[in-house]
């Protein structure tokens, strides 16, 4: 809520177009408001989930889970609850430092009761553009000041380790200002508010903060070593050994099983095991029985169990077409995020079987063993599961990533695809280094991100297709496109160093040694199962043309260049990493994980930060537009508008101002580079 208020203020300011000092003044009240808000939170002991619980009329099970959750499920919550009374920065200082005008605004404490009664209105003022007028600002002020700020906002703001040194009052002031600049994004709705930024920066406090942030940045570690977590997480992907015949190692195996941070289980409604990421039937059968019992207990009451929490472990259940998919996570993901992961696993099952077939199997015999029809799909499910456990920006954002190419270069590739298109082609894609280069598609069909996720998972996260070598002809159902039938996908990997082949009519063959990051693949999807040779011909034409017009070299060069470092995007930034999602294009861009997030564990921690931000910004009740999060290890910012979502992370000593400023730069960069980092429209026929 605080964030939203801030944005509102900003909008108001923009509308005013007032000089800097004035603009800065109105904000202060908000800061103050925030602080009381925190206090309120602490006393009430609520957090996002708690709030949800109160408001949500959801099922009993769900509510239960939430209550539990609020106490101890995710580490975030744990911390927040533990430190519920967050250190309140001395408000008076703020007041002094800022203008007396602000205090006047604050006086509107009568507004509190109002807020309580309509907490949502304040929060839901999501659309910045609507709030440009002064009145809007005033309305929002009282709400903020009232200290009634919804527990949500407070929780989200401080939910990560209240104890962090950053929450000092000075930081707070800075942070408020920091929001102003975020609105300065040309061309957007918010652009109306543009001038404010420049003014804000001239504020001495701002400058001080910025300088401070920059000085401290270099020194600190964003992600201090956490040996225990690291050790556990490294083990996460190891295969469990089987229980031996005598059962002597049963205990050890069970320990190993329960110590896994994340499990995915799939069972049929009749209780037959279908899939488990870790462990074989000997280990999982008991648990599967328990889970089935719990689920069917609620089912009998005509109620659907969606999630529950035990200790720090969250269980999320998705029931679909006679299947129960269960995620068990200790990684602090939200219900919604886990549910999205389960949906992806379900999509993979549909992709193997199609929906009608799945329905037939279970309507004929509810006790059918689905493992047989699914055989061969386990590696795909496991690859998906591991991707989720490692943390995957495409999954989190439900968006895809494109290879950055000049617009004109991409146009040439698009044209090539259009020119070589054959009659039975549905979708044609060129993919390089796991990123999309170009798409050709019929006018009335777009590609569903979840379908692409399945395809990318199959091609890049498992070995089945790649190591088969040569060309592949794969029947698959793309559930996002049509979950009732199969399409046929032609896949050919072009090794980046395969230039010398093409001897006579030698077909491409995959050399086992080439680097994952340099793979270029041509995917041609057709509804006709007999069209392999047609697709093969098209592939030959496409590759020949791309080689002739130089596009192939450009693609390979772009792949080798890799993602830009964050400092290439915003020189001298405090940012360590960011995710920028363009909502219209359903695509996202991000910089390289290097140098700050080398290795599995560092990446997982980064992704956990993103998960937290994402969960808070997407919480159904909060409607946050800007969310700022301070923790011991990092400070981070989430910012959503109708056009984009931006998540960025900086080191713990970076100032809010610097963070916000960098966030703005990222948005500017994305605007400027839009046609390079995203595929806009693609080649349509």
């Amino acid at each position: 809520m605080e964030e939203s208020k801030e944005s509102q203020k900003e909008s108001g300011q923009a509308g005013n177009g007032q000089p800097s000092p004035e603009s800065s003044k109105p904000r202060t009240p908000e800061q103050e408001a925030r602080i009381p808000g925190n206090g309120g939170n602490g006393s009430s002991g609520t957090n996002v989930e708690g709030r949800e619980e109160a408001q949500d009329n959801a099922l009993v099970a769900e509510t239960i889970s939430r209550t539990v959750h609020s106490k101890d499920s995710s580490e975030i919550d744990r911390e927040s609850s533990a430190e519920t009374p967050p250190p309140l920065p001395p408000r008076p200082v703020n007041l002094e430092s800022t203008d007396a005008q602000n205090t006047l605004h604050l006086s509107g404490k009568q507004a509190r009761p109002k807020l309580q009664s309509h907490p949502t209105t304040a929060v839901s003022l999501t659309d910045i553009s609507t709030q440009v007028n002064n009145e809007g600002i005033r309305e929002t002020y009282p709400s903020t000041t009232g200290g009634l700020t919804s527990p949500l906002s407070v929780a989200s703001q401080f939910n990560n380790r209240f104890g962090s040194p950053k929450s000092s009052e000075t930081e707070d002031t800075a942070s408020i200002k920091s929001y102003v600049p975020t609105l300065e994004t040309g061309g957007d709705v918010e652009s109306l508010l543009g001038e404010v930024l420049g003014n804000g920066q001239q504020d001495p406090a701002w400058r001080f903060m910025t300088a401070q942030g920059e000085n401290q940045n270099a020194a600190d570690e964003l992600l201090p070593e956490d040996a225990a977590f690291e050790k556990d997480f490294q083990k996460e992907f190891k295969e469990l050994e089987a229980i031996n015949a005598e059962g002597t190692n049963e205990e050890a195996v069970l320990d190993a099983w329960t110590s896994r941070m994340k499990h995915f289980l799939i069972l049929s409604a009749a209780g037959k095991p279908i899939y488990s990421r870790h462990g074989d039937d000997n280990i999982t059968s008991g648990y599967i029985g328990i889970i089935q019992t719990i689920i069917s207990f609620y089912q009998n009451a005509d109620d659907t169990l969606k999630s529950f929490t035990a200790g720090d472990v969250k269980f999320v259940v998705l029931s679909k077409t006679s299947l129960y998919l269960v995620a068990i996570s200790r990684l602090g993901e939200s219900d919604g995020q886990l549910r999205a992961q389960l949906e992806a696993l379900y999509m993979q099952i549909l992709s193997t079987l199609t929906l009608p077939r799945l329905q037939t199997i279970f309507s004929n015999r509810p006790s059918s063993d689905l493992r047989r029809p699914l055989s061969g799909t386990e590696p795909l499910l496991s690859a998906l599961a591991d991707t989720f456990t490692r943390g995957s920006p495409p999954t989190l954002l439900s968006a895809l990533e494109c290879l950055r190419l000049r617009k004109s270069h991409r146009q040439v590739i698009d044209q090539t695809l259009l020119k070589t298109r054959t009659e039975n082609l549905l979708y044609g894609l060129i993919v390089a280094g796991g990123r999309l280069v170009s798409v050709v598609r019929p006018k009335k069909h777009s590609l569903h991100p979840s379908d692409l996720q399945l395809i990318f998972n199959m091609l890049f996260e498992t070995e089945g297709v790649k190591t088969a070598g040569g060309e592949n002809w794969i029947p698959l159902c793309l559930p996002g496109f049509n979950n009732t039938g199969f399409l046929y996908m032609y896949v050919s990997f072009l090794s980046a160093k395969e230039d010398e082949n093409e001897d006579e009519s030698q077909r491409p063959s995959t050399s086992s040694s080439f680097n994952k990051e340099e793979e270029v693949a041509v995917l041609l999807i057709s509804p006709k199962k007999e069209s392999f040779y047609e697709m093969q011909q098209m592939r030959d034409d496409v590759v020949e043309q791309l080689q002739k017009n130089g596009s192939m070299d450009l693609i390979k060069a772009a792949v080798r260049r890799g993602r830009p470092h964050v400092t290439d995007v915003v020189p001298g930034t405090v940012l360590r990493h960011f995710l920028y999602k363009s909502k219209a294009n359903v695509q996202f861009a991000m910089p390289s994980f290097e140098p700050h997030f080398k290795g599995l564990v560092a990446r997982r921690k980064l992704l956990s930060i993103y998960h937290t931000l994402h969960a808070n910004v997407h919480s159904k009740i909060s409607h946050l537009k800007v969310h700022y999060c301070v923790s011991r290890d990092s400070i981070s910012l989430a910012w959503t508008t109708p056009l984009f979502e931006l998540y960025c992370v900086a080191g713990p000593s970076a100032s809010r101002g610097a963070l916000a400023q960098s966030a703005n730069k990222v948005v500017q960069w994305a605007r400027k580079e839009e046609e390079r980092i995203f595929i806009i429209g693609g080649a349509v026929f």
Binding site: P379, G469, G470
Partner: protein, 265 residues
């Protein structure tokens, strides 16, 4: 052999379509990978759909270019198989020496091919995973004794095979995971008029031999641009015509396992 085409007038070259069929996890893809790339991967993940690869095989008188369809073994892909074997001139039906059900499945495939595929199709029956048996003969060429395996080194299935509990326990060299005797496979192959080999994709034993034998067994007249040479008997038998016509000749000059004789791979 491999270099012969550069020397004199180019030999006639023709392409031969070959399809691999068999239960999942018997090692079809591994055989192809060995033949095409001379490579082997432990724990290879299952093929999805089908893979299309090519490889040349140089015979004394001609060059055969194999266009290989490596199909997935899972039942749900079975309905696609006709697409792959419809115009195929040759087929490799593979089973797992350590898994009796896989021979049953192989027999089904043979029957289907004989019923549905083009009449002159050359079919080779291949028992794979010879490395899991402990036959000690080092000779790969001894006819009627299709040995030449290396002792199982404790590595079990190439694919995530659901090996029998027995087979799993057979990790020691002294144990033999073989469940289907050479004689059993051979008898069936003879009965149906198939080429017969026992191979190890892991060690390479007999792998190129299979393809060479198929190349030799393809009737000349079915090859486009093929020129009369050592006439291969109609039907799938009698590679090179110098052996007992009812038997596959395994006496080729095979010396070491990884050798690529006869093939330009």
């Amino acid at each position: 052999m491999a270099d012969s085409r550069g020397s004199a007038a180019p030999k006639p070259s023709s392409s031969v379509k070959l399809v691999l069929l068999g239960e999942s996890a018997v090692g079809k893809s591994s055989l192809v990978l060995r033949f095409v790339n001379n490579d082997f991967q432990e724990n290879k993940e299952p093929t999805i759909g089908a893979a299309f690869l090519t490889q040349k095989c140089n015979l004394p008188t001609r060059t055969i270019k194999f266009e290989i369809w490596d199909t997935a073994g899972q039942e749900r892909f079975a309905s696609l198989a006709p697409m792959y074997y419809r115009n195929a001139q040759s087929a490799l039906v593979v089973y797992d020496l350590t898994k009796p059900t896989s021979l049953t499945k192989a027999k089904h495939w043979v029957a289907e091919l004989q019923r549905q595929a083009s009449p002159g199709i050359v079919i080779a029956l291949v028992g794979n995973k010879l490395d899991l048996t402990n036959e000690t003969s080092s000779s790969t060429g001894a006819s009627a004794n299709f040995a030449g395996s290396e002792d199982a080194a404790g590595e079990s299935e190439e694919n995530h095979a659901e090996a029998d509990a027995d087979a799993d326990a057979d990790d020691e060299e002294t144990h033999d995971a073989r469940k289907i005797s050479t004689a059993e496979g051979k008898a069936y192959a003879d009965e149906e008029g198939l080429l017969f080999f026992e191979t190890s994709a892991k060690t390479g034993t007999n792998v190129t031999d299979v393809f060479t034998a198929i190349a030799n067994a393809i009737p000349e007249h079915t090859l486009k641009g093929g020129r009369g040479a050592a006439a291969a008997a109609q039907g799938a038998l009698g590679a090179r015509g110098d052996a007992d016509p009812s038997r596959v000749n395994l006496n080729g000059p095979r010396k070491d396992v990884g050798a690529k004789e006869g093939c330009a791979c």
